[in-house]
C-alpha cells in the first residue's frame, strides 16, 4: 500500500541537510506552509537557498527562518513588503544574498524544471536590469531573454486536502506556487488541512497528481478556518495604500 502520510511535521522535514535548496510555496501568507517552516527551524538545517515569491512576512514562517540566520540566499520576486522587516535588516547588513526574478519568470522557471524544459525564451524583463548579461534573441519580430529552470532539493507546500497517494487540491488563491513547486523539487513535502480517503478526491479536480508528492502531513485546519469559512480579526497584512501617506501628498 502506498501511504505518503507521515506522523508529524518533524518526520515531514527529516533529512534536510545544510546547504539544501528549498522551494517554499505561498504568495505572502496565502499558501505559506508555516507549520513546515516551523518544523524546519526546529530541525536545524542551515546555509539554505530558499526559492519563494516573497521573503517573509512579520516574524513568523519564512521570516522566522530568516531571523534564525539559516538562509544564505533567497531567489524571489518581491522581498520588500510592508511587513518584511526581517529580510530588510539582513539584506541591508549584507547578510543574505538576493536573486531577484520577475514573478512570471520565477513561476515559469520552476515549471520548466518540473516539465523537463532545458531553457525558454521569455519576453518578460527584456531591456531591463534583470535581463542584463542574459542571452537575448529576436523571434518573429519580438525580443526575448533566455531563462533557465530553477530546481530544488525540497519543496515545502501547503494544500487543502490530500489522499494517501499524494493527490492534492488547494484552496482559492492559496494555490499559487504550490503546483509548480511540487513538480520541480526532488522531494516534495506537503502540509494539508486534512488527509481524505483514497477515492474521495474527484479525479477531474485533482490539481497536483500524487506523482509529484513525497510526504504529506496533516496539520489540522488553518486558524482562520476553524470557525467556518470566514473569520474576522485575522491580521491580514497587505500592501495597502497608506491613507495617511496619501493624504500628506
Amino acid at each position: 500500500m502506498i501511504d505518503k502520510t507521515v506522523a508529524d511535521v518533524a518526520a515531514a522535514v527529516a533529512g534536510i541537510a545544510d546547504g539544501a535548496t528549498i522551494m517554499i510555496g505561498g504568495f505572502g501568507r496565502a499558501g505559506q506552509p508555516v507549520e513546515l517552516i516551523d518544523a524546519l527551524i526546529e530541525q536545524g538545517a542551515g546555509d539554505l537557498t530558499i526559492v519563494s515569491n516573497n521573503a517573509g512576512n512579520g516574524d513568523v514562517g519564512l521570516a522566522a527562518l530568516l531571523a534564525k540566520r539559516r538562509v544564505r540566499k533567497i531567489i524571489c520576486s518581491f522581498p520588500r513588503q510592508v511587513d518584511s522587516w526581517v529580510f530588510d535588516g539582513l539584506y541591508r547588513a549584507g547578510e543574505i544574498e538576493l536573486e531577484l526574478v520577475p514573478q512570471g519568470n520565477l513561476a515559469e522557471r520552476i515549471r520548466a524544471a518540473g516539465a523537463g524544459i532545458g531553457a525558454f525564451f521569455s519576453p518578460t524583463g527584456v531591456g531591463t536590469q534583470l535581463a542584463e548579461g542574459k542571452e537575448h534573441r529576436e523571434i518573429d519580430g519580438r525580443r526575448y531573454v533566455l531563462e533557465y529552470p530553477i530546481t530544488a532539493d525540497y519543496a515545502l507546500v501547503s494544500a487543502r486536502q490530500a489522499d494517501r497517494w499524494g493527490n492534492l487540491v488547494y484552496r482559492e488563491t492559496a494555490r499559487n506556487f504550490g503546483p509548480v513547486m511540487a513538480s520541480a523539487a526532488s522531494t516534495t513535502i506537503v502540509q494539508v488541512d486534512e488527509v481524505v480517503p483514497l477515492g474521495a478526491l474527484d479525479p477531474e479536480t485533482v490539481v497536483t497528481p500524487g506523482i509529484f508528492v513525497d510526504r504529506i502531513v496533516a496539520v489540522g485546519e488553518r486558524a482562520w478556518l476553524r470557525k467556518g469559512a470566514f473569520v474576522g480579526g485575522v491580521d491580514l497584512e497587505g500592501d495597502p495604500i497608506d491613507p495617511a501617506k496619501e493624504a500628506a501628498r
Binding site: 501568507r29 520576486s77 512570471g104 515559469e108 534583470l130 509548480v180 485575522v234 495604500i241
Partner: protein
C-alpha cells in the same frame, strides 16, 4: 493648471474599458478603477496570483486569508470565477490574453518605455513582483499617474532615467492633467482636462506633443471637472 482627483481619474479610465474586457488593475491606485466599473456591465478582473472573476473586498468580518489580490488585500470571487496556479496565471498574461492592464509609473518615455519598479536609489531594496510581466502582459497597457512628481518634474519623458520595467510597452497614459496616447510620433494628447491645453502640457512636460484631442473631450468624465488639488501618484513610490 487644473487637475482631476485620483477618483475622477479612476472613473475616467473605467469609462474606457468596454464590457467583456479581461482586465488586470495592478496594485495600489489602479485598483480604484474597479470602483467605477459600471454595475450593469460585466468586466472580468484578473489578479495575477491566480484568479479570474475577482470581486470587491469582503464585508467586515468576512476576510478570508486564502483569497487575496496581488496587493495581498482581501478580495472575493464572483460567480463565474476560476482559480489557477502561478505558471498558468502568468502564461495568461505573457500570452497576451488580457485586454487591459492598468499600472502606476515613475516615468513613461515617448517611445512607451515604462519605469515603475525601482528608483535605482542606492541602498533601496529591490522588488519587482509581477511588474515586468504586467508591463508586457496585455493588449492595452494603460498607465495611471500624476503628470508631475512632487518636485514638479514631468513623469512623461524623452527617455526614462529610472530602471526600466518594460520597453515600448505602454499604450496610453492617464494623468491628472490629460490623457496621452503613445504613438510613433511620440505622445499625443488625447484629452486635456480643465484648462490644460496641448501647449500648456508641452510646457509642463518639455516634450513636443501631438494634438489628437479634437472632439475627444466632449462627453468625457473629465470635461466637467474643475480645479482639483488631489494628486494621483503611483503606489510604487511608497
Amino acid at each position: 493648471m487644473s487637475t482631476i482627483t485620483r477618483n475622477e481619474l479612476a472613473a475616467r479610465i473605467a469609462a474606457d474599458i468596454p464590457e467583456g474586457s479581461y482586465v488586470n488593475l495592478g496594485i495600489g491606485a489602479p485598483t480604484l478603477v474597479a470602483n467605477y466599473l459600471p454595475d450593469d456591465q460585466e468586466i472580468i478582473l484578473h489578479t495575477e496570483n491566480g484568479l479570474l472573476g475577482m470581486g470587491p473586498a469582503p464585508e467586515a468580518g468576512r476576510v478570508d486569508p486564502d483569497l487575496i489580490n496581488a496587493g495581498k488585500q482581501a478580495v472575493t470571487a464572483l460567480p463565474g470565477a476560476a482559480y489557477f496556479h502561478h505558471a498558468d496565471s502568468f502564461g495568461m498574461m505573457r500570452g497576451g490574453h488580457l485586454d487591459v492592464c492598468v499600472l502606476g509609473a515613475f516615468q513613461v518615455s515617448q517611445t512607451g518605455d515604462l519605469a515603475n519598479w525601482s528608483t535605482g536609489a542606492p541602498g533601496a531594496i529591490p522588488a519587482v513582483g509581477g511588474a515586468m510581466d504586467l508591463a508586457i502582459g496585455a493588449k492595452s497597457v494603460y498607465v495611471m499617474t500624476d503628470l508631475l512628481t512632487k518636485k514638479g518634474e514631468s513623469k512623461l519623458v524623452a527617455a526614462c532615467s529610472y530602471p526600466l520595467t518594460g520597453v515600448g510597452c505602454v499604450t496610453r497614459v492617464y494623468t491628472d492633467h490629460a490623457v496621452f496616447d503613445v504613438t510613433p510620433d511620440g505622445f499625443a494628447v488625447r484629452e486635456a482636462f480643465g484648462d490644460n491645453t496641448v501647449d500648456s502640457l508641452a510646457e509642463l512636460t518639455g516634450l513636443a506633443l501631438v494634438d489628437a484631442s479634437a472632439g475627444s473631450v466632449a462627453g468625457s468624465v473629465a470635461a466637467v471637472v474643475a480645479d482639483s488639488v488631489a494628486s494621483v501618484a503611483s503606489p510604487e513610490e511608497d
